[in-house]
C-alpha cells in the first residue's frame, strides 16, 4: 500500500459497475481532497455516429467479478505510478443511448500533470484489459459485438508494469 501522495489525504480508490446511469459528479466528488491541486474527470459517451456509421444505441456485457478485480488492480497501480491522492472508475452495463455516459474515470493529485496522465493511462488500460464488451446497434436493426485483436492481459502483466519491470512477459 505504498504511494499515498499526502499524509493528510486518505488513499482511496472507487470502483463502480452498474446498470444505472453513471453520476460523473459523484465520482469527481469521491476523489476530492484538500491536498489536491489537479482533478481530472473523463467521461466516455455513446456517439450517434462512429466512423460515418450511425449507431442507435450500445449495449455492454461484462464478466463482472473479473472486471471489478482488474479495475481495482489498475486503480491501485495508477495511484502508485502517478502518486495520486485518489482515483475512481464507474462503468455502466446494459443498453446506453447516444449521448449517455458509458464510463467515467477520475483522478486527483497535488499537481495537474499527474492527474491528466493517470486518467489517460487508466482509460488506455481499461480499453485494453478490463473484461467489458460493447455491442453496436445500427438503424437497420443489425448489431455487432466489438472485438479487436489484442488479447486481454493477465494481472501478472499489470503487476509487472506496476513494479516498473519491462513489458509483456506472460500473455498466458
Amino acid at each position: 500500500m505504498a504511494g499515498c501522495a499526502s499524509p493528510i489525504a486518505v488513499c482511496r480508490e472507487v470502483v463502480t459497475i452498474t446498470d444505472d446511469p453513471i453520476d460523473p459528479t459523484a465520482l469527481l466528488a469521491a476523489v476530492a481532497a484538500v491536498a489536491a491541486g489537479g482533478n481530472v474527470l473523463f467521461v466516455g459517451t455513446a456517439r450517434s455516429m462512429t466512423d460515418g456509421v450511425a449507431t442507435t444505441c450500445l449495449a455492454y456485457d461484462a464478466h463482472e467479478p473479473l472486471a471489478r478485480s482488474v479495475l481495482a488492480g489498475l486503480l491501485a497501480a495508477a495511484r502508485d505510478r502517478f502518486s495520486l491522492i485518489a482515483c475512481g472508475v464507474a462503468h455502466r452495463l446494459g443498453v446506453i443511448e447516444a449521448g449517455e455516459a458509458s464510463v467515467a474515470v477520475a483522478a486527483s493529485a497535488p499537481h495537474r500533470q499527474a492527474a491528466f496522465e493517470a486518467t489517460e493511462w487508466l482509460m488506455e488500460q481499461i480499453k485494453r484489459d478490463v473484461p467489458i464488451w460493447k455491442c453496436e446497434y445500427r438503424p437497420d436493426g443489425s448489431h455487432a459485438w466489438v472485438h479487436g485483436d489484442a488479447v486481454p492481459r493477465s494481472d501478472h502483466v499489470v503487476r509487472a508494469e506496476r513494479d516498473n519491470l519491462s513489458a509483456v512477459t506472460s500473455h498466458e
Binding site: L66, H91, P131, W133, H147, D149, P152
Partner: protein, 85 residues
C-alpha cells in the same frame, strides 16, 4: 463419479456467447491445464477457434496463465478482446 464423466462449465461473453448460441457451455473434462481447456472447447465447437485464439482465460476473478491446472469445479471464463470504455 469417474473422471471420464466429468464436465467443466465455461462462461462465454459478448461475440463469443453469440457465436456459441449460449452464455455457458459444458465441455468434457478429465483434468488438465488452461491450455487443455482451450483444446476441449475447440474440439466441441470448432467455430469458436478464431476468436478463442485471441482470448484470455479467467479462473474466478483473475486471468489465468496457460499452464495453470483447472479442477473440475473451477469457475472458468473465456475473455475475448475487450471493448469497454
Amino acid at each position: 463419479m469417474p473422471p471420464s464423466s466429468m464436465t467443466l462449465r465455461v462462461s462465454l461473453f459478448a461475440g463469443m456467447a453469440e457465436a456459441a448460441g449460449r452464455r455457458t457451455i459444458e465441455v468434457p473434462w478429465h483434468g488438465g491445464t488452461v491450455k487443455d481447456v482451450r483444446q476441449a472447447i475447440v474440439a466441441m465447437l470448432p467455430g469458436l477457434e478464431p476468436l478463442l485464439a485471441r482470448s484470455a482465460v479467467a479462473l474466478g476473478d483473475r486471468y489465468a496463465s496457460a499452464d495453470e491446472p483447472v479442477p473440475a469445479g473451477a469457475d472458468v471464463a473465456i475473455i475475448p478482446p475487450v471493448s469497454g470504455g
